[in-house]
């Protein structure tokens, strides 16, 4: 057993270690049966959009866009919930964390690497969905517009925010609880328009206070699924006048802020845990 002469005591950069963990997590995610199953079902939904289009009264283009974007968002968020809920649990449950944390890596680097790897695999999922969507649009003779691209970017941000919510819960609870909590946040986060209305109009002060608290606590996912809403008195739709690029940037910034806060909280919790 010879000494490896080149092996020194320098352990590279923090980014290098995060990248190593992210690469491993990406391998985990893309070899996970769930992700493969989601891709197959997504492809099935795209094909189903063709059938639905035929059944509609000359609304093939509208059906194709709605089903494709809706499917990408739904399956992306479900995948984020499942992978995010398992993100740290499997590491702790299978005790691979004992091997990892005994290496020259900090706990926050491990957590950030795990999230980055999951984000990369979810990005791949959204990208593959976008390619399938482009195929569907080509078959239906639907143009791939800037509005579609903006909507896809907002969907991608939403998926990453949901993944961060799941990763946060995964830092201290079981996969089932993490999944349930994340699904709850996702549903409430998409209903922020209704929550705002309830703050204005609910008769009970308790309900008004609860809705106001929820508006502060949950990420505003409605900002990221904005098609069909009225913004500043103008109805925006992916089928017609859609949001500007500056809106997309602002909404993505909102999402990034939430991701940052959630990961920071997860880092604090993760740093305090004992791994028995």
């Amino acid at each position: 057993m010879s000494r490896a002469g080149a092996v020194g005591r320098s352990t590279g950069s923090m980014l290098g270690r995060i990248y190593a963990v992210a690469l491993n997590t990406f391998r985990w995610a893309i070899r996970h049966r769930f992700l493969i199953a989601v891709l197959i079902v997504s492809a099935g939904v795209m094909l189903f959009a063709l059938v639905l289009g035929q059944m509609s009264l000359h609304q093939e283009q509208r059906v194709a866009i709605d089903v494709a974007l809706g499917g990408t968002s739904f399956f992306g968020c479900i995948t984020a919930m499942v992978l995010g809920s398992l993100l740290l649990y499997t590491e702790v449950q299978r005790r691979t964390i004992h091997t990892m944390l005994a290496k020259p890596i900090e706990r926050h680097e491990l957590l950030l690497g795990r999230y980055a790897g999951m984000a990369a695999s979810l990005t791949l999922l959204v990208a593959v969905s976008a390619v399938m969507m482009a195929g569907l649009f080509w078959l239906q003779d639907v143009p791939f517009t800037a509005a579609t691209a903006k909507s896809l970017i907002l969907t991608w941000v939403e998926v990453l925010v949901v993944a961060a919510v799941a990763a946060f819960f995964s830092s201290f609870s079981s996969p089932v609880l993490s999944g349930v909590f994340t699904a709850g946040i996702w549903l409430v986060g998409r209903a922020t328009d209704e929550l705002r209305a309830a703050v204005e109009s609910a008769a009970s002060p308790v309900i008004r206070a609860a809705c106001r608290a929820a508006l502060y606590a949950v990420p505003d996912l409605h900002l990221l699924q904005v098609s069909g809403s009225t913004l500043d008195g103008v109805e925006v739709s992916v089928h017609g006048d859609f949001v500007s690029w500056s809106y997309v940037a602002a909404a993505a910034g909102h999402g990034a802020l939430y991701v940052g806060v959630l990961l920071a909280l997860a880092v604090v919790i993760f740093a305090r845990r004992d791994f028995l």
Binding site: S2, A4, R9, T11, R17, A20, W28, L276
Partner: protein, 337 residues
């Protein structure tokens, strides 16, 4: 990344770990005032029954859990320390690795965490896969590996960073005799390469065979630390005699005649195996056996072994109420005050 020069590779002072169960709030004492140190270049055996606190101590050293009291340092750096972990290789008990990876991918991942460049990672992986004998299985995912193969992969990943200190938690547990021998050889090779090895085990023959010094831990308390030769009593504690008695009816007669002078006597065909206490007169018994027509096959004086010492210490601990309450959890329980 310069670390302070330290006299001890591992130093543990008054270490204690107490858990409280979630609902009943029972107080669970896993470690109770443990102190010891490990010197550079030695093989240090950490011995104790299941539930003694060995794994808890190792997990504190690796920064996986925090002590309730006391301190621990590696290379003079208080744990947890990333700089210290950069100089350590660790094999956990019953190791689990990412089962979707191959051993090459696992070693590549670990190499990245140690900051090795691509060429160094590849060279190190090839070298270690060869050392632990996994060359033929290197393309299989780890989920297809047997327990022994996983243990070998675990040893390989512990050595990727060319560590100065190798910490092995029960490295021979669950291995067949051949596997245990190979692990012992790897540990001895590490000593030859001037590494420090700290390993826990409850397989005392392994520890006695390779450890320079040992610590005996029972019920979360440390009972002995020192060289095996210093700890065990080298006086003859008994003598084993094997006699061959050719006459068919002579075996029973010889057994009956010699019985009062022996601690134990066992008959196996036309042979008798006698155990004579330290105060017994072996010469006199041999003379009497020959007079009865027996032929002496062997005379073996028996010295105290680590196992005898260990059993003695475990009995003392048992009489003090430090039992093996929850062996699999590596803890002992006390009722809450």
């Amino acid at each position: 990344m310069s670390a302070p020069a330290a006299d001890h590779v591992i130093e543990v002072r008054d270490l204690a770990k107490v858990y409280h169960t979630p609902f009943s709030r029972r107080r669970v004492v896993a470690l109770d005032g443990v102190s010891f140190s490990v010197e550079p270049g030695e093989i240090f055996g950490f011995v104790g029954p299941n539930g003694a606190g060995k794994t808890t101590t190792i997990r504190i050293l690796m920064g996986l859990i925090r002590p309730s009291q006391g301190s621990a340092s590696l290379f003079g750096l208080p744990v947890p320390s990333r700089a210290a972990r950069a100089r350590i290789g660790f094999l956990p008990e019953a190791p689990y690795f990412y089962e979707y990876l191959t051993v090459g991918e696992l070693l590549d991942l670990v190499g990245r965490l140690f900051g090795l460049d691509r060429r160094a990672r590849r060279r190190r992986a090839d070298e270690l896969i060869d050392v632990v004998g996994l060359t033929r299985a290197r393309k299989q995912p780890l989920k297809n590996y047997s327990k022994g193969m996983l243990q070998r992969a675990g040893i390989a990943q512990a050595l990727v960073g060319d560590p100065e200190l190798v910490v092995l938690d029960e490295p021979t547990s669950g291995l067949d005799p051949l596997g245990r021998r190979e692990v012992r050889q790897i540990v001895l090779a590490l000593r030859d390469a001037k590494k420090t090895v700290f390993f826990s085990s409850h397989i005392l023959a392994d520890v006695e065979a390779i450890a320079d010094r040992v610590a005996i831990l029972v019920g979360g308390k440390l009972y002995e630390v020192g060289r095996v030769s210093e700890l065990v009593d080298r006086k003859v504690i008994s003598t084993a005699l094997i006699l061959h008695v050719p006459a068919a009816d002579g075996v029973a007669a010889a057994a009956a005649a010699l019985q009062p002078r022996c601690q134990q006597i066992e008959r196996r065909g036309d042979e008798l195996e006698l155990e004579i206490g330290a105060d017994g007169d072996v010469d006199e018994i041999l003379a009497e056996a020959r007079a009865l027509g027996a032929r002496v096959v062997s005379v073996s004086p028996r010295h105290e072994t680590l196992e005898d010492l260990f059993v003695r210490r475990a009995r003392i601990a048992g009489s003090e109420g430090l039992g093996r309450a929850r062996p699999q959890d590596d803890v002992t329980e006390e009722a809450a005050p």
